[in-house]
């Protein structure tokens, strides 16, 4: 009784303080009441900035770079990786041309072909129809080519072997990987991002349908709740561990940083990739239940930031200067930081996912990590190797994996992968 009463009083006392005061009790000493107050003000301003952008606008499909890389991150993801099932190069090119036409239409908010209705009654409609009436929802479709498109089981199926970029390496095995072959690889990947999940699903579904006979879906993933922002003015979103993730991400508006770390250049060794980028996708299962049983102090120390504000260890605000030495040597943020990786930076566009429960009653959930970089060897691989010592590894496991070369943007009249196939 006494204990219960004491706890109750403590709770009541907290309730009168500013918001999540348990953080102040257990977290890093540097955090203070003032931080909480500042956060409240900041959130309002940021939220309205987000709303302005969230209208159902269309994002231009054509351009020097593919949309969906430096584009402000949308709310939802449908990622799909395909195997090419034909050995006929002409068929593959024809499909890529059909895909491009469909992608240009869908990202503009239009239906595929003749639409979902209005065609002959005895034929199935060209468009599956579930996006009819919905705004473009900032849909972007981004294509990438996996190593197996260039060579599979020792076979050069499409005469592309010599054109495989050196940067498109096979990802090495990372410590702790538990990769499911059914959730990895693929000859072609398409990242569909939109503010409305139905719009993203519609896009992948139509592409899969157009592709039947040429490609077959190998694996796919739905994502929600973007876990990183490419717009620094926006509020940094939280991942399923409850932490702000991606504060230090490369802003999609910083041309100099994008040029240095994200866009491949002709001089990098593969002409056809100039203006493109390399995508690494990882399905990272998060052990939600054990994380939730971890003390706040431990959570914050593992992450290297405080949970409420997102301030780096020993600092007060999210964007305060990071002092790595103040973090545990195995803190996630410390190990992932450019200063721990020879200056390496990647552009992250991850999404949370949950696919219900796993049969053991555990949330089948985690982070669908997507990173774009100029060279995965100095980008994702370098950073992931340094994360071998990450204290967070106890709570995460990489279960799916893919790497893809995303060609440059499509010009009017061109098609996805034109620079590769021409």
């Amino acid at each position: 009784m006494t204990e219960a009463g004491s706890e109750g009083r403590e709770g009541a006392a907290e309730g009168t303080a500013l918001g999540p005061s348990r953080r102040r009790m257990l977290g890093f000493g540097g955090a203070s009441l003032l931080v909480g107050a500042a956060a409240g003000v900041g959130l309002d301003r940021v939220a309205s900035a987000e709303e302005d952008r969230s209208a159902g606008g269309a994002i231009a499909f054509h351009g020097a770079h593919q949309a969906g890389i430096a584009t402000p991150v949308q709310d939802r993801l449908h990622f799909a990786a395909f195997d090419v099932t034909t050995g006929d190069r002409a068929k593959l090119v024809r499909m890529l041309q059909e895909w491009t036409a469909a992608a240009a239409a869908m990202t503009a908010g239009r239906s595929v072909g003749h639409g979902a209705v209005g065609g002959p009654a005895v034929a199935p409609p060209d468009d599956t129809g579930e996006a009819v009436g919905l705004p473009p929802s900032r849909l972007t479709l981004t294509i990438g080519f996996g190593p197996t498109l260039f060579e599979k089981d020792g076979k050069d199926r499409f005469g592309l072997k010599a054109r495989r970029p050196q940067a498109l390496v096979d990802l090495p095995h990372f410590p702790g990987d538990n990769l499911d072959p059914d959730r990895g690889g693929g000859d072609i990947a398409v990242q569909a991002c939109a503010d409305d999940p139905q719009v993203a699903v519609h896009a992948i579904r139509n592409l899969a349908r157009i592709g039947f006979g040429v490609v077959a879906v190998r694996w796919s993933q739905l994502g929600f709740g973007k876990t990183s922002s490419t717009t620094p003015e926006a509020q940094t979103p939280r991942n399923l561990f409850g932490f702000k993730d991606g504060t230090e991400n490369i802003p999609g508006t910083d041309a100099a940083l994008l040029g240095r770390h994200v866009w491949a250049a002709a001089g990098d060794g593969s002409d056809w990739m100039a203006g493109g980028s390399y995508m690494v996708a990882r399905r990272i299962r998060m052990h939600i239940e054990t994380w939730d049983r971890t003390s706040l102090r431990e959570q914050e120390e593992i992450f290297g930031r405080d949970k409420g504000e997102g301030a780096p260890a020993g600092a007060r605000k999210e964007r305060d200067k990071i002092v790595l030495a103040r973090m545990r040597p195995d803190a996630h943020v410390r190990l992932a930081h450019p200063d721990s990786n020879g200056g390496s930076k990647i552009l992250r566009r991850g999404y949370s996912f949950t696919d219900g429960s796993d049969g053991l009653g555990r949330l089948e959930a985690g982070l669908f990590f997507i990173a774009f970089q100029r060279d995965p060897r100095t980008g994702f691989i370098r950073i992931q190797q340094s994360l071998a010592a990450d204290a967070m590894n106890e709570y995460v496991q990489h279960v799916g994996s893919g790497i893809y070369a995303c060609p440059p943007g499509v010009q009017e009249g061109g098609f996805w992968g034109e620079t590769l196939f021409k």
Partner: protein, 377 residues
């Protein structure tokens, strides 16, 4: 609906345009030139030409009203010959209909109430068109195929039932799958007779508890043979199966088969059968002879395609090529599983091989779904 579904294409490069039309769903640019313009408003229905030649006619229906409109061609007796619904305000659709000589009424129904202003038109002359004759012949040939296939099933089922009656389990197991081949290759036609299909081909898993007591047919015997290891006491189900198939046979002479709705759409249904029932191994839950049914479904679909192929080739050569390629791919894949006169047990086919079969079925099913639209052009 989303705006500009048709005009949208114009913005796309020329190369994509031709590709998209190759995908089907195109009402046909050729007809567009001779199309008969119909202008519908909320209270009027104007047709540009009132005397039309018999044969295929394309009405170009423009809805200039404010309500969603419906366009109907009414026969002299007032019944609907053909209709086109959901014509949105401000949109124009091409609507193709085959008109024999006679007097018709065109009806525009704003708000889709089935009522509205009409126009009288007169259709005269002989329906021309080599295409029509080819399709008529295809339909006649298909009917022969249906009859032959049913005869084959009945003959083989007779042998199967003999073994069942002798409780010769091994023999009956051997004869079970072959007895179904003819049936599986014409299933959509057989399903037109809604009363026979459940009697001969229902699976226990699909029945409600109340329906279960009336369960009969192949799958009842399948379960007895493979699960119980005995068909003792099941003799009457053998007799009933033959009886039901006999009833179906008696009805075939009076059957008219339509190239679009029965043949082409039926071929697509056959592939659907494969995609939903066979690839998953649900159809033959006890005997695992799914691949035999699979092949029969594909053969039945291919028969339809071959009969319609001259017309398909002329109207959409790319579709014909896709179908040729994809039928060949499915057949090549199936060949890997041949064993003796039949196929390996489906429970020996692993997950990744089933995925390959499913991919091949999807690859064939998608272009096959366009067959009806192309034949109807």
């Amino acid at each position: 609906m989303r705006p500009v579904p048709v005009l949208a294409i114009a913005g796309v490069a020329a190369v994509s345009m031709s590709l998209l039309s190759a995908c089907g769903g195109d009402d046909g640019k050729a007809e567009a030139a001779d199309a008969v313009a119909v202008t519908a408003t909320d209270d009027s229905c104007e047709v540009a030409k009132k005397d039309l030649p018999a044969g295929k006619t394309t009405f170009k229906v423009a809805n200039k009203g404010s309500k969603v409109n419906e366009f109907e061609v009414l026969k002299p007796d007032g019944k609907i010959l053909s209709e086109r619904e959901n014509i949105g305000p401000g949109t124009t659709v091409d609507f193709v209909v085959n008109l024999p000589a006679g007097a018709y009424k065109l009806l525009c129904s704003a708000g889709q109430t089935g009522k509205g202003p009409t126009q009288d038109i007169t259709v005269s002359g002989q329906a021309n068109g080599v295409g029509d004759q080819r399709l008529t012949k295809a339909a006649a040939d298909y009917k022969s195929y249906v009859i032959t296939s049913l005869d084959d099933t009945i003959a083989k089922t007779r042998l199967f039932v003999d073994a069942v009656k002798k409780n010769d389990v091994e023999k009956a197991k051997e004869l079970y799958a072959p007895s179904r081949v003819g049936w599986e290759s014409i299933e959509p036609v057989a399903e037109k007779f809604g009363d026979i299909d459940p009697k001969v081909d229902a699976r226990e898993a699909d029945l409600s508890p109340a329906e279960k007591k009336d369960w009969s047919g192949w799958h009842l015997l399948e379960k007895a043979l493979w699960k119980d290891g005995s068909v003792k006491g099941k003799e009457k189900y053998g007799d009933r199966l033959l009886e039901d198939l006999g009833v179906l046979k008696g009805r075939l002479p009076g059957l008219t088969l339509d190239p679009v709705n029965d043949m082409a759409a039926g071929a697509k249904e056959l592939l659907d059968e494969v995609a939903t029932g066979k690839v998953t191994g649900e159809e033959e839950a006890f005997s695992h002879t799914d691949l035999v049914d699979f092949k029969a479904n594909v053969d039945g679909a291919k028969k339809v395609y071959e009969l319609l192929k001259p017309v398909v080739q002329e109207k959409d050569a790319q579709l014909a090529k896709d179908l040729d390629d994809n039928f060949a791919a499915v057949e090549a894949l199936l060949k890997k599983y041949e064993k003796g006169d039949g196929y390996v047990s489906y429970d020996t086919v692993g997950k990744s091989d089933r995925k390959k079969l499913a991919d091949a079925v999807n690859a064939l099913g998608e272009p096959l779904s366009k067959l009806a639209g192309v034949v109807a052009k």
